[in-house]
Subunit: 246 residues, 2 copies
């Protein structure tokens, strides 16, 4: 097994960091790796905001409810970005280009571009011995995050990524059985056996892990997650910024 | 520089493959690496369809207009997948859970989950000496791809990934200047100088590259891309499958 596969297969999210900040060189490598990810039709429809301002980090930690959003080696916010494309359209006064930029197809393109870039950055960080964790909970108050980072129209924050030197190692979390996730030629709807066996796996994992042991299953977690309306404002927000309009 | 960074920074899309098919072991490693990517709140809201059926590959090559969608080492289709979560809701007869599953927030979550997984798969493939290319053009006829793969409600195809042994090496495509993509603490809207200098870079690249040399710039490409309405049916399609409803 090569070193890269080892890095990929050893992944675990890190949520506690020493207070060593990343060097400029480390940040540059992470950004450069992110930029080298594939991009849909060369659009490069994303931007990354590095947040170093302590007041902003504090407020982001409040929004997300996660202290490590403030206390880490570096905080990146990944954004879907069609601003550069919109400038071209505005300069040419082409209204039909704007309509195209604002459709669901390009909401998808920009979200996918940002995610591919982010994952390259994550792998780059982990290959250098750093730990990382994505922060989807910036969408707890996506409008406020948007204001904090002064994002123009056609740019929206999608998720954060904290990076730093791990303060403690964590255990690796099991994944769904391969056959529930990987299908051949057509989708296999018969997954209930796999989900039951996964629930047993994950119950054992939660019961036996060294930190934060608890009684829980994947099914119970998902039911809790979806039982209350969550981030219902994301839809109106993204449309107000010129994404996902139809 | 470690081996993983070298892999990340050496990326170029490969669009021509020898006729050697991937081994089961290679496919398993790619899927396993994909599964180890981070996933939002442990949702694992994606599925991967491996396509080996030649008739299906032919039709997908027609839809995408790319012959290498048929001729490659292996073809993966990455899907946003909330089907497993919807089963839980249906079993519990919880209508409010369905509404939550179908909102824009979880359209984003599942698209991001699928993309993070895909990029891990891409890096795993490249680390083993394979080449790859994403195929966004399956969305040229997303409804037909959905039928071909027999995807149930709450599963949609997002993009393909072809993997195989490169038939010829390609040159690496330049990226936007770092300062256009990476911002510190707030978004920098002053990018027109960067875009102009990038246009010069990319004009030189297209003029001098060994295969398919042409006169073109990034700006011109983007204007062409956005000048005609594109995949305007994606919006209705994803809603018809139970995604992005509000």
């Amino acid at each position: 097994m090569n070193q890269t596969l080892e890095t990929l297969l050893q992944h675990r999210s890190i949520r506690s960091f020493t207070d060593t900040v990343l060097t400029e060189e480390q940040i540059n490598i992470i950004v450069e790796a992110a930029q080298m990810a594939s991009t849909s039709s060369y659009m490069q429809a994303y931007s990354i905001i590095g947040v170093t301002d302590l007041e902003k980090k504090k407020e982001l930690a409040d929004i997300t409810g996660q202290s490590y959003v403030k206390d880490n080696g570096h905080l990146f916010i990944f954004c879907a970005d069609l601003y550069r494309h919109q400038i071209l359209a505005s300069d040419l006064q082409k209204q039909d280009m704007i309509q195209n930029i604002e459709n669901t197809e390009h909401f998808l393109v920009s979200s996918i571009d940002a995610s591919l870039a982010a994952q390259n950055g994550a792998i780059a960080a982990e290959s250098m011995g750093l730990g990382m964790c994505y922060i989807g909970s910036i969408r707890n108050n996506i409008e406020r995050v948007d204001q904090l980072l002064q994002l123009p129209e056609h740019v929206i924050p999608l998720f954060g990524m904290v990076v730093g030197y791990p303060n403690k190692q964590t255990e690796q979390k099991p994944r769904l059985p391969k056959q529930a996730v990987y299908h051949v030629n057509s989708y296999n709807k018969e997954q209930s056996g796999d989900l039951r066996s996964f629930d047993h796996t994950i119950q054992d994992y939660y019961k036996s892990r060294k930190q934060n042991a608890r009684l829980d299953s994947w099914t119970d977690q998902m039911i809790r997650r979806f039982s209350h309306p969550m981030r219902m404002d994301v839809s109106d927000f993204v449309q107000s910024k010129g994404f996902n309009k139809r």
